[in-house]
Symmetry: C2
Subunit: 142 residues, 2 copies
DNA sequence: CGCAGCTTGACAATGGTTTTCGTTTTCTAC
DNA sequence: GTAGAAAACGAAAACCATTGTCAAGCTGCG
């Protein structure tokens, strides 16, 4: 199924009209390789010459999340958004660089239905603390 | 090593004094089986007849997180806190009931250093959607 | 056309968290 | 013990992401 048809199917399936503003928000999200905040979305749309209100951006991403086209993350205490595929999956999110990987394998650790895994990706882990103590528990990196 | 000595060792190791207020905050956290918010911590301390300011609670949990005694989570958009063990580990957090499991095994999915895994625990998963469609991608449960 | 209902956006309100700043407590040196 | 310095404390204000309000605009349908 072509992407654009899938969008409309998923939107209407969730009772959400594919309005101009919502599609514009979705287009920005599709172009972004990693999760961005509502304010960044808003700024990017204004950059593109598309007048839109911040309130509308918040409502659009909310609709898109409800429709299953977009996934919401929490990074540094604020919500970020990114498009995600239609099949069941979970995400690996690097707390340091913001990289997101979609994983289709089902880990089911201890019976958990895993939705999001936060951690530090291999390149960021190598970059940080290359020679310092490594066995400290959960010291947040600056 | 007795718990109380470990606290002091970890606190002083992070350059944090084991003051009366911080110890009281830590005691409440130790008694709580799952993560609680700063406001809940504050209310519980007032309940116990310990006068403390909300600002101090925020600063105390921040110090305790820095010292590695407490781990911070994000649930429903606000920060929650819970004591955690001294050894390297990660957490499984149920988005539905707030249950937290400490895991010491290293999953290292795709080279990630896993810190926190958000999902739905088995009892909550059984309770929700027992017969409805199960293969929807990431539809947030109400 | 004309209505009903969804959508939009400026503005206000909310609420968790942090900053400010003056006061109090704690630690260290004597 | 006492003094002085540094850290901790707390009330109030500031901050800021997010949500609510409400009037105006748009869309589809009879």
């Amino acid at each position: 199924m072509p992407e654009i048809l899938r969008w409309h199917a998923q939107l209407s399936g969730a009772g959400v009209r594919a309005t101009r503003k919502r599609v514009q928000v979705l287009e920005v999200l599709i172009a972004e390789p990693r999760p961005i905040t509502a304010r960044q979305l808003h700024a990017e749309l204004l950059n593109r010459g598309e007048p839109i209100g911040l309130t509308t951006v918040y409502r659009a991403v909310s609709s898109l999340v409800d429709a299953g086209l977009v996934h919401a993350f929490t990074q540094a205490g604020e919500a970020t958004y990114r498009v995600c595929g239609p099949t069941r999956h979970h995400h690996l999110i690097c707390r340091s660089c913001g990289l997101v990987l979609e994983q289709t394998a089902e880990p089911r650790t201890d019976g958990f239905e895993v939705e999001a895994v936060y951690g530090v990706c291999a390149p960021c882990a190598r970059r940080a603390l290359p020679e310092q103590q490594r066995d400290q528990p959960h010291r947040p990196r600056p």
